[in-house]
């Protein structure tokens, strides 16, 4: 049942010009900044090589590029998820799901899986680009892969938050703005920490910190758990919201 709903969600996204425009624009912006990073690297390559334990091309080009990709997701993912449930609510097609023998959990899981399928395409586009460096440079595969993992976790968490707001609002634009606001808040919340103070509560909340640690190749449970908690909580609240439609308040 989940698969059926997921397939429908993914095809519906690919049928609209939205997904294609997003993929094209993401590709364009990412490629542009990726080339800019390479330019910068070329510029400083000589000096870098002179340094002891000099950072390689992966650290200087790939990791920051993925960081930029992560920031782009702040804009792209809320737009991808915004009409997932709010559109169905508006068109009355949510009724079809509600009157069918499926649970709220199955609806949410299906929707989420469908969105992740589309986002996986975006992720692959981003992932392929650094591979071009392999023609001229030695890529640190470990750091590259953990960078991709960090990006995927971040995208999955964003999608879950986006889906949650899509369930809460009837107007897709409101859902998009809400998820953009909350996600960028989480991204920047670290700034609330006074300078010089470390490991505060705000620092833990910041998605930027967790993303950067994994992206640099430092895998630890705390960071993985952070994304896991966001995903689980958002999915739970989404299902709860859908149940709330039917259950008397």
């Amino acid at each position: 049942m989940i698969k059926i709903i997921a397939t429908r969600e993914a095809t519906s996204l690919f049928r609209s010009p939205l997904a294609w425009t997003l993929l094209a624009m993401a590709q364009f912006v990412f490629a542009f900044q990726f080339l800019a990073q390479i330019e910068t690297y070329m510029h400083f390559a000589e000096k870098l090589r002179a340094m002891p334990e000099s950072p390689g091309v992966t650290e200087v080009v790939v990791t920051p590029s993925l960081g930029v990709a992560a920031m782009l997701m702040l804009f792209f993912i809320p737009v991808t998820t915004m009409s997932s449930l709010s559109g169905e609510r508006r068109n009355g097609t949510l009724m079809l799901l509600y009157s069918s023998p499926v649970t709220s959990w199955q609806i949410v899981a299906g929707k989420y899986a469908g969105i992740l399928t589309v986002l996986a395409v975006l992720w692959i586009i981003v992932a392929l680009m650094p591979l071009t460096l392999m023609w001229g440079a030695a890529l640190d595969v470990g750091v590259y892969l953990s960078g991709l993992l960090a990006l995927f976790l971040l995208m999955a968490a964003y999608a879950a938050v986006g889906l949650m707001f899509s369930a809460m609002f009837t107007q897709p634009a409101v859902a998009a703005i809400m998820s953009f606001g909350v996600l960028s808040g989480l991204w920047l919340i670290d700034w609330a920490t006074p300078l010089g103070q470390d490991a505060s509560f705000f620092a833990y909340l910041s998605s930027l910190n967790h993303f950067q640690r994994i992206a640099r190749g430092l895998l630890n449970t705390s960071d993985l758990a952070y994304f896991g908690i966001i995903i689980a909580l958002s999915i739970y609240l989404t299902a709860w919201r859908l149940d709330g439609d039917r259950k008397p308040l």
């Binding site: 429908r8 009355g92 009157s99 069918s100 439609d245 039917r246 008397p248």
Partner: protein, 323 residues
């Protein structure tokens, strides 16, 4: 596996289930603290078509949403084919086909894709679903538009796609919220034919504002008013009364001399209500009678049961009824 489940259920609950397909008890629902349904009781047997009437805002759509599992009631219970809708929603909902007021269509999908999705959503395997889709397309006259985008179809076709979606999985209980609204007369007739054909195997609830539609289609009518069922009775075609009107200057004849007519009373000038033994016999005799005398027959019809009067009495003078 699915089929096995269905059969198993049918065996368990034996003949009772076969008759009583839907049983709702004491449904109440609040909206923002306001009570919109006050203890609705409904029963529906196989072969019944229940017409659901009531002024706008009486709670028809809310009731239908509750019966189809889209909304949960604040209190009360619904059982569909012996399955409790709140305790075993997955089992109960397999037996429900629902067309909401706004057909839940995927405008970006073709009719085929949409119906296939709906069939799979109701738990059918792929091959089974394909067969069900082509069958329901045939029933609902959608064969010609199978590969067209629903968003590009006319309102009539959209409505039919909505109906097809509700009938796809051959549910025991079919719930249709204003199925003929927005259709042209030919399409209305086609939809009515479809509903008539349905009632042999299924139980149908349909809401409508067209009283004549309720009269021709339904075996029973429930009138909902201010969240209560104000009227719930079988309506039978009255074969023993007819209304006739003539264009003539002659005084009224002795009705008893006409075949099949027992008595007559004057409704207005040259308009009569006749008590008859058999409608067809009396109609033939009356036609002959008027031809012999060179009268002009203005009107000859069955005396419709006083549904409109009931409706108006119950819902217009609400201040007297529910003050």
């Amino acid at each position: 596996m699915l089929l096995g489940k269905r059969l198993g259920v049918a065996n368990n609950t034996a003949s009772m289930v076969n008759d009583l397909l839907l049983c709702a008890r004491d449904l109440t629902r609040f909206y923002h603290g306001r009570r919109v349904l006050h203890g609705i009781d409904l029963e529906l047997k196989r072969g019944e078509v229940l017409g659901f009437l009531g002024p706008n805002g009486a709670g028809k759509s809310t009731t239908m949403n509750i019966l189809s599992g889209v909304l949960a009631p604040h209190s009360g219970s619904i059982s569909i084919c012996g399955h409790d809708l709140s305790h075993a929603p997955e089992l109960a909902k397999r037996h429900i086909g629902y067309l909401p007021e706004i057909p839940p269509l995927h405008l970006d999908a073709t009719v085929d894709e949409y119906l296939l999705f709906c069939a799979r959503l109701r738990g059918m395997q792929y091959e089974q679903a394909i067969a069900a889709v082509s069958k329901s397309k045939l029933e609902c006259g959608l064969v010609a538009v199978g590969s067209r985008l629903i968003g590009n179809l006319s309102k009539g076709f959209k409505q039919r796609a909505g109906i097809a979606q509700a009938l796809l999985h051959e549910p025991a209980v079919v719930i249709l919220d204003e199925p003929t609204s927005g259709l042209d007369p030919n399409q209305i007739r086609a939809v009515r034919e479809t509903i008539k054909a349905l009632c042999e195997q299924h139980a149908v609830i349909l809401s409508t504002h067209v009283l004549s539609e309720a009269q021709t289609l339904c075996s029973r009518v429930a009138i909902l008013h201010r969240g209560r069922i104000a009227f719930n009775q079988r309506i039978d075609r009255d074969d023993h009364a007819m209304v006739v009107e003539f264009d003539t200057n002659e005084p009224s004849p002795d009705w008893t001399r006409i075949d099949g007519v027992r008595s007559g009373e004057s409704l207005s000038n040259h308009r009569y209500l006749l008590r008859v033994d058999d409608f067809d016999v009396a109609a033939n005799a009356l036609t002959r009678f008027t031809l012999e005398r060179n009268w002009i027959l203005r009107e000859l019809r069955r005396n419709t049961s006083p549904l409109e009067q009931v409706f108006v009495d119950l819902t217009c003078n609400d201040k007297n009824h529910f003050a």
